[in-house]
Amino acid sequence: MTVLVTWWIGLATAAEPGLDALLAAELQRAMTAWEASGDPDDVPHHVAVAVTDREGVRLAASAGALTERTTGRRRWLDVDLRLGTPELDSTHPLRGMSAFDDDTRVEVRVPWAGDGTDLALRHALWRELDRAWRDARERLVLVRVDQAVRVEEEDPAPDFEPRGAGVIDRREVPALAIDVDAWADTLREVSTVLDASPVVVQAEARLDASREVVTYVDSEGARLVHGRVLLRVSVGAEAVADDGDRVTVHRAVDARTSDGLPDAAGLRALAREVVAEVEALRRAPRATPYTGPVLLSGKAAAVFFHEVLGHRAEGHRNKSEDEGKTFLDHLGRPVLPPFVDVVDDPTLERLDDVDLRGWYAYDDEGVPAEPAVLVEKGVFRGFLTSRSPLAAFPRSNGHGRRSPGHPPVARMGNTLVRVTDPVDDGRLRAMLLDEVRAQGLSYGYVVEEIDGGFTLTGRVVPNAFNVRASRTVRVWADGRPDELVRGIDLVGTPLVAFRSLVAGGRQVEVFNGTCGAESGWVPVSAAAPPLLFRRLEFQLKEKASDRPPLLLKPGHDGDGTAEAP
């Protein structure tokens, strides 16, 4: 299962002169030792070593008080080691019971300051190289047995794409420039706006800032130092409806420099919006399961494509025999209307005036990021690839990603949906109502905001998605005013859902978030215009059942004895 959320937690870095040389020297020392054994199975055909260094600031305030103030730094070590040959190596997917005996790696934190740093780093690298080698040695045996015992595999592609001479590129990563005290004051003040509502039981204004520097070396000679700065301010509030439903509203702004973040006035306005919305949502009726026409806002459409198309276009999912491979057989065939293009382009730093979180220069396998065309004029054209090739896609397009402690796999960066024949917003709404009437329904839905989503891509479980709608509006065919509802999520299966896409709008919106999957949590962006679907499905969202607070909120409690309304 994969998950996409709008929040994230990061600590995190700084470039260190000579770190790549230290890693390369230790790697060479290990290679020499392995080569000395004389057994080809002892010698890795590829080893990559990466140190991810993050420094970060986390500030949060609630009810006028600072609840978190963390400045810190962490550094992780990752070793990706392959024994065997590029055609068949120790990372090859296992089938049957052996599939449960998989990668044993964990997050390895390593030191970053002090006289002993060199030795401490080399010691950690020694342990990790040795562990990775031993794991690979054991796994290579299982891989070969798997080949002998089981039938021919569905996917004949090799396990690795050698690249020859590695890239050498050392980049400066901008410093993390955060005025911590000023931001603390701002967040305190903004949090009082959230707290002013008597129905808000919990609220927070927060800043998450991180600078990450990755130092990467490999046995092909790659020497990379690169990274990025990520900043996010967010406000969120929670209230409890009379039926026990806990309703939350959350808004975030992402940027790569503090100039791109809203000022105090902007944050106050955002906080007021959040409060108004959570109050309205608390009063809103719970909707019931529905199928019929649905209009997705740009953000909702962006998440929809991330979940429904993006994860299924991740290359490794089309190699594993446990995966649904929804689009593998659709290569070169239409899966969407001809007015839709989809590309994943991690090289884009901004889209219009919005900074994109899914930007990066190199992926976690040392490959330069490049755009990957997934859908062109409605026709499925390709996959996101890492250095683990597909039969028809032998080279990586720079999408091998991970968070520390995981092996990289193909992941999204900036997933962009483009509509070549857009219609105006008013026209889209009219088309929605036309569809409602044509299907003999009394209302349709517009999904304006989403919290995130998740999708299941395997074979045993239903190959379905869930887009977590956080603001959904019922639009009546008879002209009644729009009605905010709560308690439903968008669900469905990919091929059916895509078949019902009718039209797209003009105004592209960006969803910035963090995506969780088997290679960990990675920052991503998705962008899309509003999209109208002839038929989608809503299911009930989970609901809490505790009564609302029994006593009035402090500060709103008069003599302190009154019952809550």
């Binding site: 103030r69 029994l550 006593l551």
Partner: protein, 566 residues
């Protein structure tokens, strides 16, 4: 370098300790409101307690003389305990979760209003949970007719035991971790060599609806050095050193580093020692920290006086009630032995306190007289034998308070010299037809065996954990060090088989907050101290530790002299 940093700490690098008084006032208002909570048909609260922790924390981790992590932050936390029903029968003392006890963070610089908000939310949730737990308990538990009740109301306790000293500078804590871990630089062949430092100062308040208002100081600095080594046959050997003090200026960094270096050197040497083979049945001499570990593991649990929870029969099976409570009048040691626990005995020790976490004044307890249990470490949970609280209640925020040890002294009726004790041990061994006696000096810390492993950090042991090493002591004074042994069939009866005692040793340890041996970080837990004599156990069975050996590193370790910089 460390000396300079110590001076910096002493001369004003400290931050201001948080002022908790306005927060206490805000919590008092919410306590008043808490007693008005009600649900249709549900029992009302009869007692609500808040624990406020207002502390400054600095933690650091280092390995091989380099910093891996450091955090410094003010930290305010709130623990909430809601009791519904009556002291005779309430929602407590029954297994399971969501039982009316909870905790939450108050953040960095909470205002009185922000504190009230959190207290309001947590108390509301705790009350609802308490009502449900009360119903579950009423439905499932069949109490005996002489059930002594669930809680003891005592009336208000008002006391001010003061606050902790100013917090040490972050750089001091950081440098401390780095300096001690530099002891491992000469041993890069260690599989793991790291140091954890936890420093916490401030104040803790206990407030309740009876009017209790007790302020307790928080002042603790704990340093733990841990080393692992892999023997040529794959056996993993671990050892650790813990230092815990109230005043960090009392830490002699050079001495700590020297001890850590000696530990690493011993461990590396031990890896090259022969593995223990065969079986040994005979006397075992517990010296040094092993003696303290013996009493910690086998004696102290027998002196904990809070009755265990009644198990909750959940869909996951029974929860709670697994631990046996201490009993009066049971023989736990041979005749003549005495055990005293006095939380007030040494105000300089971080485990010392004048009031426990329930606000009860702490007093010295003579737990064992002439080898028989005469008193127990108790909380306010009533016992059938009528022992009331003696101020030994301990709990994590949001957890159930249970009686536990603090500063404990175990005294033997007769103390022999080291030489005489060894002579006695060898004589006893001869009765078993042995030409040597086994000596153990340290036991492996069960939680730290897993440090750095994917299995995570946990402490779970029955009987005694394995010794770091066993030493065969021969009549001619020769010692043969062996690795890879374990004790078999150990239970509390071993302590009734103490044959002789020697000079005293004093060892600190960190006890789990909740009485269970799980879930602690390397510097987390209740600081405790044990002063015990070296002891000769009449008979123990020692076997080879044949647990699954790990892999032996294939690559040679890095050396300190390798130059790799460009």
């Amino acid at each position: 370098m460390i000396t300079a940093l110590v001076l910096a700490w002493l001369h004003g690098a400290a931050l201001a300790a948080p002022d908790a008084a306005p927060l206490v006032e805000a919590l008092s208002e919410e306590l008043d409101r808490a007693l008005t909570l009600s649900l249709p048909g549900g029992p009302s609260p009869y007692h609500v307690r808040y624990h406020l922790h207002a502390v400054e924390q600095v933690t650091a981790e280092a390995a091989f003389g380099a910093l891996r992590e450091v955090h410094a932050t003010p930290r305010h936390s709130l623990g909430v305990e809601v009791r519904v029903g009556s002291p005779a029968f309430d929602n407590t003392g029954f297994g399971g979760w969501r039982n009316g006890f909870t905790a939450g963070h108050l953040g960095v610089d909470p205002t009185p209003h922000a504190v009230r908000l959190v207290a309001w939310r947590l108390t509301d949730a705790a009350y609802k949970d308490a009502v449900e737990q009360y119903a579950r308990k009423r439905a499932q538990a069949s109490l005996p007719p002489d059930h002594p009740g669930d809680y003891t109301l005592t009336g208000p306790v008002v006391a001010d035991d003061g606050a902790g000293p100013p917090v040490a500078d972050r750089a001091f804590v950081e440098a401390l971790a780095v300096a001690v871990s530099a002891a491992f630089l000469d041993h890069p062949g260690l599989d793991l060599g790291e140091v954890h430092v936890g420093h916490e100062v401030g104040e803790a308040w206990v407030l309740d609806t009876e009017g209790t208002r007790v302020r307790r100081p928080v002042a603790e600095t704990s340093v733990r050095a841990v080393a692992h080594v892999v023997a040529p046959d794959g056996q993993r050997l671990t050892d650790e050193r813990l230092w815990t003090v109230r005043d960090p200026a009392r830490l002699d960094v050079h001495a700590l580093k020297a001890e850590a270096a000696a530990m690493a050197a011993d461990l590396v040497a031990l890896a090259g020692a022969p593995a223990f083979d065969g079986e040994y049945v005979g006397p075992v001499l517990f010296e040094d920290a092993a003696a303290a570990a013996l009493f910690r593991r086998l004696l102290l649990p027998q002196l904990e006086g809070t009755p265990p929870e009644i198990p909750f029969d959940s869909f996951l099976g029974e929860i709670g009630g697994a631990k046996e409570g201490g009993r009066l009048h049971r023989r736990v040691l041979p005749p003549g032995w005495r055990v005293v626990d006095d939380p007030t005995a040494d105000p300089e020790h971080p485990g010392s306190f004048r009031h426990d976490v329930e606000g009860t004044p702490a007093r010295a307890v003579v737990a064992v007289e002439d080898g028989i249990v005469r008193d127990l470490f108790t909380s306010r949970v009533p016992r059938r034998d009528g022992i009331g609280s003696n101020g030994h209640a301990r709990a994590a925020l949001g957890g159930r308070a249970v009686g536990g040890s603090s500063l404990t002294t175990v005294m033997a009726p007769r103390v022999r010299s080291e030489r005489a004790l060894r002579r006695r041990a060898l004589a006893l061994a001869a009765d078993y037809g042995l030409d040597h006696v086994l000596v153990v000096r340290r036991l492996q810390h069960p939680a730290l065996r897993w440090l750095g492993d994917p299995a995570g950090y946990h402490e779970d042991v029955e009987g005694l954990p394995p010794p770091v090493a066993v030493v065969r002591l021969y009549r001619d004074g020769r010692e043969e060090v062996l690795r890879g042994a374990r004790f078999a069939h150990v239970d509390r009866w071993v302590l009734r088989d103490l044959v002789a005692a020697g000079e005293s040793v004093t060892v600190d340890h960190l006890a789990p907050w909740n009485g269970d041996e799980t879930g602690l970080g390397p510097t987390e837990g209740v600081p405790c101290r044990l002063t015990v004599p070296t002891v000769l156990v009449g008979e123990l069975e020692v076997l080879p530790d044949r647990s699954d050996p790990g892999a032996v590193p294939r690559l040679p370790p890095p050396t300190r002299s390798t130059e790799v910089r460009p």
